[in-house]
Symmetry: C2
Subunit: 330 residues, 2 copies
């Protein structure tokens, strides 16, 4: 199984030409005499020669791959982003190298540093405070960032989370809800934007919003927080969750506790993960167009790598998807 791998020199020797010629031939850099072309084609096939991308990259400085680091690949929101970015990368002849930080900001730096030297550019979804992100600029690679930034000036792709928050709050108040609550995830940058959007809408109508917080944006946490919210002294009539995963867990546990949904409480989330369609009741949510985010980020990065100018920020508009988990309280 381990017969020696053929190098460009082996090919050159066998074909009786120089390595430079082989190199040019393999890269289709120019035209060749029929004689050379035929021999080379034959020899390459015979030896099973494939160029070594490592050596290639070392010289050209290009790896033909891009890195993408996400927070949690098992969250469908991120899986969709990866899927979108992967498709675009492939289309452009790039390989996507994935990093998964597992919602642990400690892992981000080493991972990104390792990744950065193997790729031509990076797409980053980070949980780091903006103040601690300076080192990213030292990576010496084109970067595309997900989310809004206030201090740093990086190319980025962001959803309008403020608007999304406003939309879902607007929807709920129009349905006649008076006591809303928000189950948030304060470690996330976007959490604040969503909450602000919600508040902007509700404040204008003098409606209150109770705020709860979680440690992880997972369905397990949604389940865990349910009793606190539903069995406390001030039960809300509608709950907006930071994401669909939290909403899924919450809904499940609420029903286990004996509540009826959406009769006792309306629930909405963010992300529009595929599985929101299959819960009971189906989940109202703000579609952030995850796959499109991945697509846009990859396109932007590739454009930067190719030296094309790109807008500094690409905003992706949210859409409200209304399903049966939110209902009229009139």
């Amino acid at each position: 199984m381990k017969k020696k791998i053929a190098t460009i020199r082996d090919v050159a020797a066998a074909a009786g030409v120089s390595t430079a010629t082989v190199s040019k031939f393999v890269n289709g850099a120019q035209r060749f005499s029929p004689a050379v072309e035929t021999t080379l084609r034959a020899v390459i096939k015979d030896l099973g020669y494939v160029s070594n991308p490592l050596a290639q990259s070392m010289i050209t400085g290009r790896t033909k791959s891009i890195g993408l680091s996400v927070l949690d690949i098992s969250n469908p929101h991120f899986a969709s982003i990866v899927k979108g970015a992967n498709r675009i990368s492939e289309q452009h002849g790039y390989t996507l190298l994935l990093g998964n930080t597992g919602e642990n900001p400690q892992r981000e730096r080493p991972l990104l540093e390792a990744l950065s030297r193997r790729v031509d550019g990076l797409i980053i979804f980070s949980r780091m405070p903006e103040a601690e992100m300076e080192w990213m600029l030292q990576l010496q690679k084109p970067l595309v960032f997900f989310g809004r930034l206030t201090q740093m000036h990086l190319p980025r792709v962001a959803s309008d989370d403020h608007r999304g928050g406003y939309m879902v709050a607007q929807h709920l108040q129009a349905l006649g809800h008076k006591k809303m609550a928000y189950l948030g995830f304060s470690k996330s940058r976007r959490n604040d934007e969503r909450l602000e959007g919600i508040r902007e809408c509700l404040d204008a109508r003098s409606l209150p919003v109770a705020v709860y917080d979680t440690d992880m944006p997972s369905s397990m946490e949604g389940e865990r927080m349910c009793s606190t919210i539903m069995l406390g002294p001030d039960r809300p009539d509608a709950l907006i969750c930071y994401n669909d995963l939290l909403a899924l867990g919450f809904m499940k546990e609420a029903q286990t506790l004996g509540f009826r949904l959406p009769t006792d409480i309306s629930v909405a989330g963010f992300d529009n993960i595929e599985f929101g369609r299959y819960t009971y009741p189906p989940l109202t949510t703000v579609d952030l167009q995850s796959e499109q985010m991945g697509v846009s980020a990859a396109e932007k990065l590739l454009a930067i790598i190719d030296g094309k100018a790109t807008d500094d920020i690409t905003t992706i508009e949210p859409r409200l998807i209304v399903r049966a988990s939110t209902v009229n309280r009139a």
Copy 2:
């Protein structure tokens, strides 16, 4: 932003030593005189020197990264596998390079060939017929494969799908079902194993099983196939699906069509994706321990890379998870 990146030569020059010394120092290969050690440490920090893994790999032949190609990253089953493999890779100081073939066997070969030259080994989840897989051995890299193989002799990690099929069929017949159906995905190797397990159990009891097939193992396909199964002349009283995604879609559509679950039909799937807990009714399924599959595959590959002998096949036992989607028909 683009100040020149420091090389080993810059460090050597600045410190007044040879590049060989720097190299050894960086790799902690031996001991040094205090003087050299202090200067080197200072210079490296000052210049912000980090060794270039590309050049390093070229010489050593090791990349410190492994490749993993999966069929569809947006299927939670694969996301879990990635998660498991990623964790182990990180623990061993390896970076995981992910490839997503998107259920398109055409993409597998180019993807794997591109990946193979950048990594020290590959973990492969493939949809290719075994007869067409010869080229994988030409990759000249340690390989770990997912699933059973009949002709090729590769290290692999496989769930006992036959047993899983038997378990779920056994469960359903014990509940008194008489007219079972199987919604399969014949493009998958494991489809046949599951079906055989089901048949082994049902044949022994002279119970029939109607077989349907899909093009994609997705929830959309499950929805699409529902009417065919439920509105045909021979409606089953229990349905086993190739995976949970199909089951989710099927259950949703069945209820849209006006059927009651599990009263009208019991449904079960394979994979035990997280979201099976949140459907209505919650889904009975065969837990394939996806994350553990990723863990085992990564451990096996790393062991092979390190030259340690490993068993040729690691089998992961399935577990039946009984939830409310299957019910007694007695």
